[in-house]
């Protein structure tokens, strides 16, 4: 882990997001260092996804500050987030089902030639390269993604996040729709990206996933972070009780 005196890769301070008067995220502060996986857990409606949407630019925070490398940044839309090296894999995958894999991979930032025409051949070439790493058996580059299997679709969504040299990755339930073999693949990938020095927020319902992959775990409950713990210091039961009861056990306090 990076030396404590250097600023964290990402720091979200006092973030508030409300939907029609309900505080979905209420005064939350959280941070992430390079080469670290922070698991974000909590029950349904605890605010995990909403907090991450504020970081990925899908939803603007009502108040609070986001710092990257210690500098305050403004993130009001997905473009802002991507410009700061933040890539997101959404739980819904956010794929346009009618388009093929290369079109989805480059959605919103297509490669073009001199006169601004789409360079489909170049995009397919790049897609073949990144998919060769993630899913070597994948060959259906010209089929709409609606005709792909769940695992293949997930691979396309992951490829989109990996391809653009992200420094910060948000993964929202990345293994929820996958079989055992594909889940293992995604876990390997997370470890590999972490080793490459990325910071990863891992949002998951699966406590085992989170324990296997995270360095630290933040627990959310009713829109607030009720505790952030080092994985090494706690047991599954400690974290589960935080999720359910919304408060830390004495022994688990950092």
């Amino acid at each position: 882990m990076t030396a404590p005196e250097s600023p964290p890769l990402v720091e979200m301070r006092n973030i508030r997001v409300s939907y029609g008067g309900v505080h979905a995220v209420d005064d939350v502060s959280i941070d992430l260092r390079a080469g670290e996986v922070v698991g974000l857990v909590g029950g349904n409606g605890a605010g995990k996804s909403t907090l991450m949407r504020a970081l990925s630019g899908a939803r603007r925070a009502d108040s609070g500050t986001i710092l990257i490398d210690g500098k305050t940044v403004t993130i009001t839309n997905p473009h802002d987030a991507k410009r700061h090296g933040i890539e997101t894999i959404y739980q819904t995958l956010a794929l346009a089902d009618n388009l093929n894999a290369p079109a989805n991979l480059f959605l919103g930032r297509e490669m073009t030639n001199r006169i601004g025409d789409l360079d489909n051949a170049a995009m397919e070439d790049q897609t073949r390269k990144v998919m060769a790493r993630l899913n070597p058996n994948f060959t259906r580059f010209s089929s709409p993604v609606s005709s792909l299997s769940g695992g293949q679709r997930q691979a396309v969504a992951i490829a989109r996040a990996v391809h653009f040299n992200a420094r910060i990755m948000i993964m929202d339930e990345p293994t929820a729709a996958l079989g055992p073999a594909e889940t293992a693949q995604v876990r390997d990938l997370i470890r590999q990206l972490r080793a490459e020095g990325l910071g990863i927020f891992l949002v998951s319902h699966d406590i085992h996933d989170v324990f296997d992959l995270s360095d630290r775990i933040s627990v959310m409950y009713h829109g607030k972070v009720v505790g952030t713990v080092n994985k090494a210091d706690v047991t599954h039961d400690d974290v589960l009780s935080m999720i359910i009861l919304g408060r830390e056990r004495e022994a688990a306090t950092q």
Partner: protein, 436 residues
Amino acid sequence: MTDSVATAQDEPQSAGSSLRGVLGSLGIDLRLFGMLVALALILVYFGIRTDGKFLSPSNLVVLAIQASVVAVMATGMVLVIVSRNIDLSVGSIVGLVSMTYAMLMTQWMPDLGIRFDTGYMWIVALALGLGLGTAIGALQGFVIAYMGVPSFIVTLGGLLSLRGMVWVLSEGAAKSGLAEPFQLLGGGAIGAIGGPATWAVGIAAAVGIVALTYYGRRQRSRFGFRVRPPWADALLAMVGAGAVVGLAAFFNANLWPKGLASRYAIANGITEPPGGLRIEVGIPWPVVLVIGVTLVMTYLATRRRFGRDVFAYGGNPEAAALAGINTRWTIMKVFALMGLLCGISAAIAAARLNGSTLDIGQGNELYVIAAAVVGGTSLAGGIGTIPGAVLGGLVMQTLAYGLNFTRVTSAVQNIVAGIVLVVAVGFDTYNRRRAG
């Protein structure tokens, strides 16, 4: 898209025996191919029924001109429907813009002292009309995209209120007598590009098809991708090039009427040969407009970011927004473009009439939507092609014209058109579901 097409491109297999397999390895869109077959069958049917009279060049040219007003707008309706919207106001936009052309050339500009024979009068009128169409489309698009009012409602309002404006504008009277150059946009013996230009266009298009095929091959082999077998590309290029040259020959088989030709001969001091002067009509201007609009719209839809954004939005609006696409601006542009195309159609319609009536364009929205949908555009959004919609419009128009030609009453024509619409889309839906 069917799986068979996709796998044939990705992992060519020995499926050469079936027609589907051959078409697949040629990379031909099965839906477009099916529509071409349907169009050919309809033409042959009416040809037989009328002892070939229906298939005479002069007759089919009239058919093509009649189809052009709907075909131009259908290219825009594809993008509207692909983006999960609808535009019911296109017929009324045609009405208002047509009347504007007529008012400009018969009243407003003469009132300002611009004489009728001024060379630029029609250009100014055309520019203002196209601008008006674009502005109406953009305004409706703004209300739809930025204020969140459903497009069905906004354009239904447009359908009613724009038609009302036609009446207000013209004080309830038809206008006629447009500038002569403007009238050419409506087609007819003089409103065509002539024989030599038609040959030139045909040959240029043939060269273009060969060049594009070669360019496409080079693009894909640049990265070592699998390309079609050379025989397939060569065959496709030859069929395409042959088809456009054949079309040029067809348009040139249409000759000026004898009376007009001999008046021209006398006026220019040419001695008439025994059989009368043979002057080739060539491609009518409205058909030139359809071809040009189809090419430009296909380019926008398939080769530009704008088109990619529209299709992405149609496939998954949330994914498009999360990818950072400015979805509202995209939708507004789609409607502005639709308005511009209505302006072009209005020019053809007004030029054909040499003026404007109160009900010009009325009911066009239904034919335009039908053309797009018969041409394979899915009302669920995200799926559709520009050439498909043009062909769809041609199929519907050929059917209507053929029935008219064989003296079927307009009531029966409507019955047939309605049934064809439902059957065509039902067939398409069945195919798509089977293909998964």
